[in-house]
């Protein structure tokens, strides 16, 4: 995929940058402004998650196609401590770091596809996609 956008996440300004880039990409893909906002909010949550738990990592944004459906894919990668209890981390309202616990489960609610891979001690990869409704 040639047109992917790799954004390093190492400070809180990067979170703002990532969600703004995500919104711009969603606009290019033809998402409504309401959906652009939803995508930006989801990116904000997972980018902050990287900062809070792994200190640094990367967000990769790209346009994806599935048949006649177009979508925005967001991948968040970090080499942080990983998540030992994924089930618990995906529980709404659960947080280990004074958050409101909306981070990962919140992002999952906002997106259509959501996948979380994590190995304790090696890092975490979140892959999520929002699809535009085809007519």
């Amino acid at each position: 995929m040639g047109d992917e956008l790799r954004l390093p996440i190492a400070a809180d300004v990067d979170v703002v940058e990532a969600r703004q880039q995500g919104r711009a990409l969603a606009a290019v893909a033809g998402f409504s402004s309401g959906e652009q906002t939803v995508i930006a909010a989801a990116i904000s949550e997972i980018a902050r998650n990287i900062l809070m738990y792994a200190k640094k990592g990367e967000i990769i944004l790209s346009l994806v196609q599935n048949g006649d459906r177009q979508g925005v894919s967001v991948v968040a990668i970090d080499q942080g401590p990983g998540i030992t209890d994924i089930e618990r981390a995906m529980q709404y309202g659960y947080s280990t770091s004074h958050g409101v616990g909306a981070g990962l489960p919140g992002a999952k609610r906002l997106m259509d596809d959501f996948d979380l891979q994590s190995t304790p001690g090696q890092g975490t990869t979140v892959t999520m996609t929002k699809w535009r409704r085809a007519i």
């Binding site: 402004s33 309401g34 906002t37 939803v38 930006a40 909010a41 902050r48 958050g99 909306a102």
Partner: protein, 132 residues
Amino acid sequence: MEVPILRQGQYLIASIQSALTDADLSHLREALIAQVGRSRCRGVIVDVTALDVMDSFAVRTLRDIAHMARLRGAETVIVGIQPDVAFAMVQLGLTLKGVATVLDLEEGLAFLNRRTEERTFETKPKKPSGRG
């Protein structure tokens, strides 16, 4: 990005001008709470019209501002949440329960006037020389 805080009568008005980082938000919270105490104001308005996204950190900060201000004697009202932002917030499960929210600055001022009025009526008979 510093958020300007204006004083209007007995209210403080913080109008956010552009996207904020987490540090900016925390700074806004601290600045507002410090000023509420110093100026003994009765109300706080946070204008978020310029925000095109509100995630869990922003919502938590706004909620904290409202709770802390209340402990220091001031009512808080959040004004200007955009329709798209509101919809994304509730989908995220962020409903700002217990925090007053109104359409815009004008409504915010009206809301605080009503609130302080009600409180004045409540306290008048007991404390005729109350702080006004």
